[in-house]
């Protein structure tokens, strides 16, 4: 028996199974997508990804997601702070419900949000007297994307906040810094990388989101259509090339977002853990 590299058994079996599974489920299909895009020809590709309607959808998917991610940055930060540092009745409940957008099926969230903000319902009725429509507008899209991104910021920040050194805050106090000064000069800078990571994660999720948004958006062409919807309409008209092209663009965007997030996480780890 040749000398084994590994102490524990099962390397071959588990690695083999893992890679075969990934190969079938992930690598092969994605290769198909990339290949499709590659064999399309530049002109067809460009026509598909730069048509005005598709470009309008980029603005919605990428632009509104950004606003939603920023909102989640602010409120997610507050939520993480309150959950980690304060104790109050219902804290555990609040903590558990933070994951709701993650556990609730997107279609259910979609119709619930639409019902909630429809002109004569629940919340929408408060706005319609002023002529403000929420359903079937970008505001509705914004609300849906904020909903689904919230857990990302909170869950990224919580462990980091919990790990903060109390003594560093005490040191700041003994040096004469008031509470706000301590927060702004000492606490926030050490949380910034995690905050950015969480916001990036929320952004990545929002860009690709489909189910929660398609109901409340109304899918008005050039106004509230999201990019994933464009892919579906191309498929429905059997324009596989067009669908693949737009899919490729979304994939590339996701890739960039992942890289950014990993870089931020690396920056964060260097800043914190190794000191």
């Amino acid at each position: 028996m040749s000398r084994r590299k590994h102490v524990l058994p099962g390397f071959g079996l588990t690695m083999g199974y893992t890679w075969i599974y990934l190969g079938i489920i992930v690598l092969l299909p994605f290769a198909g997508l990339v290949l499709k895009t590659g064999t399309m020809g530049w002109e067809d590709f460009w026509k598909a990804v730069s048509s005005p309607q598709v470009v309008a959808s980029y603005k919605v998917s990428f632009g509104i997601s950004f606003l939603a991610a920023l909102t989640n940055g602010v409120f997610g930060f507050l939520a993480a702070w309150v959950l980690v540092r304060y104790d109050f009745p219902g804290r555990k409940l609040l903590d558990a419900i933070t994951d709701l957008p993650f556990a609730l099926p997107t279609a259910v969230a979609g119709i619930a949000l639409t019902a909630l903000y429809a002109p004569n319902e629940w919340i929408g009725q408060f706005f319609s007297p002023y002529g403000i429509k929420i359903s079937f507008t970008l505001i509705g899209v914004y609300i849906a994307l904020t909903f689904i991104g919230l857990p990302f910021v909170v869950r990224t920040l919580q462990p980091v906040m919990a790990d903060l050194s109390v003594e560093v805050e005490e040191a700041s106090a003994t040096l004469g810094a008031g509470r706000w000064q301590t927060f702004w000069r000492v606490i926030f800078p050490s949380l910034l990388p995690s905050l950015l990571t969480g916001v990036t994660l929320a952004y990545g999720r929002a860009v690709g989101e489909f189910g929660s948004v398609v109901f409340i958006s109304g899918n008005l062409p050039f106004k509230t259509e999201i990019t994933p919807l464009m892919i579906i309409s191309k498929l429905e008209s059997y324009d596989y090339n067009g669908a693949a092209a737009i899919g490729f663009v979304m994939l590339a965007a996701s890739f960039v977002i992942v890289l950014a997030s990993n870089a931020l996480q690396g920056w964060d780890a260097r800043r914190r853990g190794q000191a």
Binding site: Y21, F30, F75, L100, I111, I231, M250
Partner: protein, 308 residues
Amino acid sequence: MGRKAEGAGIAMAGPISMVTRHQAGRRATAESPPVKVVLIGVVLLFFGLFLAMPLVVVFHEAFKRGAAVFVSSFTDRYTMDAIRLTLIVAAIAVPLNTIFGLAAAWAITRFHFRGKTMLTSLIDLPLWVSPVIGGLIYVLLFGRQGWFGPWLQANDIRIIFAVPGIVLATTFVTFPYVARGLIPLMQAQGSAEEEAAATLGANGWQIFLRVTIPKIKWGLLYGIILCNARAMGEFGAVSVVSGHIRGKTNTMPLHIEILYNEYQFSAAFAVSSLLAILALVTLVLKSIAEWHATRQLEAGARAGEPQS
């Protein structure tokens, strides 16, 4: 390794729901009570508005016209078919992904090899791409104009617009969850116990079944629960591959969409309420499993593993 906190709450973030040092009443570094009250109030308002209200709406709309209407939503044949299909798809996808998760976690946390980061990134892939892409890739492969399309048609095998396609798309979208639940846990636990078992002569399966599984059972449960919730609720990817054929290729989420588009609101929300209950149960089980898993981790640390 910052992967711990990535991706909405499914990694073991530790005993966050337990009281942290910061709460233990060190007044010198705490905000004044009015500030605290305002901050808590703002967060509660935000959560109430954005998170709680949609949930409330689902149940309210489902029961608005009375319990009789609610029940009648489920006597519809297509609804029952949709529920059945959802259960079947989950029953296939979840076990497959569980086995994958166990294998991948074992490979990643118990061995050293090059390309580990790439493998972990690959496992995270479905979390990053739009679910619609998750459906698109299979259509490009197996659809009528796909790479294998002609061959499939020739042999009368239907994947897209049929159940196999739905299973594939669902499997793709949910395969990371079990792995991601297990990897940080198994990494934190270390392989000392397994190695000890190996020196005592146990073979691979024995080590796995007798040593590893008991240690990870709560993390495993946690991953399976999450994987199942996502599998039953998946909409985007399945929407692309399904063809929306009532009674045949409609899952619950797709059926909800159909009901809603047909203005059958009560029925749509009635079916939604089932999935909403599933979501709530998932959250509860998740909290329990997380609590157990962290307790287990702490007990292991206390039981004299050497502090490095």
